[in-house]
Symmetry: C2
Subunit: 315 residues, 2 copies
Amino acid sequence: MELVTITDIEAAAERVRGVAVRTPLVLQTWDPRGTLWLKPESLQPIGAFKVRGAFNAIATLDDDRRARGVIAYSSGNHAQAVAYAAQRFGVPAVIVVPDIAPRIKVEATRSYGAEVIEVPIGDHEAKAHELAAERGLTLVAPFDDAAIIAGQGTAGLEIAEDLPDVEVVLVPVSGGGLAAGVGTAIKARCPRARVIGVEPALAADTAEGLRLGRRVDWPMADRARTIADGLRAQPSELTFAHLRKVVDDMVTVTEDEIRAAMRTLATKARLVAEPSGAVTTAAYLNHAAELPEGRTVAIVSGGNADPALFAEVLA
Amino acid sequence: MELVTITDIEAAAERVRGVAVRTPLVLQTWDPRGTLWLKPESLQPIGAFKVRGAFNAIATLDDDRRARGVIAYSSGNHAQAVAYAAQRFGVPAVIVVPDIAPRIKVEATRSYGAEVIEVPIGDHEAKAHELAAERGLTLVAPFDDAAIIAGQGTAGLEIAEDLPDVEVVLVPVSGGGLAAGVGTAIKARCPRARVIGVEPALAADTAEGLRLGRRVDWPMADRARTIADGLRAQPSELTFAHLRKVVDDMVTVTEDEIRAAMRTLATKARLVAEPSGAVTTAAYLNHAAELPEGRTVAIVSGGNADPALFAEVLA
C-alpha cells in the first residue's frame, strides 16, 4: 500500500495556503510544567482542521471532474469543510446528512452554498454513492483518501516549522486522517519527536487495534457513548497503515477529563473547543505518567461545541 | 507633547518578539458581508494585548532600574501582564490590587511570581506610588507611558503586515493605550485605512471628548455601569493627544450588543472574549451604517471572561 509522503504534504501546504489559517502555536503560561503549546485548529474556517484536507482533495481533482462538483456524507465538520472548499472553488457541492443531524450544522453547511440532502440515519453513505454515480459528482471521503491525509498533514508541517525541537505531539484519533498526516510530517521533519494518538476510553478502537497490530471493530453503539462526537469513526486500511508507522503510542481519556479540559481551555487558553478538540489537552493534564516528558504540542482539532454543552461545562 | 512614532513601534516589535504571540488575522467565513477579520489578542499570555506594552516598558528600562523591580496598580489584565513580563525578565514585581478584586485574578497574578498587596479600593494608586518610592521600584503605568503605547502598537504593525489593504480597523478605547498605538501604526503603514474607536455607550467619555476636542471626565459611578470592566478607564493627556491624531471616528455599543457579540464570538469564531474584547465585533455587527465599508479588522483585545458570565451569555 502506498503511503503519503512528506513531499505530498509539502505540495498540499502550497495548495491550502491562504485558505486554511496558519494557526499559531500558543505556549500556555499557566501550565506549571511550562511545556504545553496548543495548536488551535478551532480557528480554521468552519472551526476545524477538516478544511485542510477537503480543500486539498478538491484542489487535486482535474479541472473537468472538479467542475462537475463534489459530494460528501457527514453530519459533522467534514460536511462543512467540503461545502466551504467547494464554494472557494466555485463548484457545486452536495452533502448527504442523516435526518437527525442538528439543525445548526445543517444550516451552517447550507450557508456555504451546498445542496443538503437529508436521509434516514444509516442510509447516507449509500445515498451519497448513488448520487455520485447519477450526477457525475466526485465523492470526497472524510479520511480514507491520500489527498485528505496529505491535507491534514499540513498542520504537522506547521508544527515542525514553528517548534523544530518539539518532543511530543498529541493528536486526536478517529478515522485517523489527521493523525496519519500529522504523524507523517512530524516523523519526516522532527524524527526525534514522539507522536501520541489520543482517544476517548469509550471509543478506543485504535488503541486496541495498534496493540494487536490489526484493525478492530467496535460496535457503533459503543463508540457513540462518548461526548466526543468527532471521534466515533474508525480507521480505514489506508489510515491504519499510516498509524502503525507514525504513531508511537496511544493514550485514552475519560469523559470527565474531556469536560474538565474543555473548561480549562475556555478559562486558561480562552478557546472554545469541542469535546474532540479537548482530548489532547485532557491527555496532557491527566496522563503525564504515560507520556514522554518535554516540549509538547496538543492539537485542538476543532471548536464546534454545542453551546448548551459548553455552558454546562463552564458552570 | 512628543507622540509615539512608527519607529518606536518597530523597535517595540523587536523587543516583544517571542514573548507576545504573533496573533493571526482570522477571516470570518460565516459573515455574509465577508469583510471581517478578527485579531484574537485573547490568545496572548495572560489572555490580553496588555502583555505587549508591559513587556516593552520593562524592556526599555536601563538594567539597574529593571533589576530593582517594578510595581503596578490594577485589578485587571495590566496586573497580570506586568507580573508575567517581570517574571520573563527575572525581576521582582509588586502588584497593588483593591481588596475587592476577584480571587481568581489575584491568584493568577500571584502565579506569575508577583508579590500581591491588597489595599482598600481607592487607595491602590497612592499605595503603589508610596511603595515605589520606598523600595526603589519603577511604576509601570497601564497606558500613560510612551513605551506602553509603542508596545500596544505592535498589534497594529502586525495588522498592516498581514492585511496591507485593510480599510477599517476597530479598536476598543479605555485609557487609550491600545488605540493610540494601533492607530499610530496603521496611519503610518496603511494611510488610507480608517481607525475607529469603540466604547460601551455607558462609558463613552472618549467619544464625547473627541467630539468636543478636549478630555471630558465621566464619574466612575457612571463608567462602572458597563459589563466591559476593561473599558472603564479614561485617556490621559498623552493618550488623548494620540487619539485626536489617529482615530477617525468613534462608535458606541450597548450592553446587549456586547453580550450578543460574546455569544457570536464563542459560537462562530470559537473564541472566548471578555466583554471588553467583544465591543469591536459588536460594532461591526450592529453599526454598519456608522462604519466605512470594506475589509475590516476587529481587535478582540482580551479573553478573561468570568466563567459564570460566559455561561450566561451562551445559554
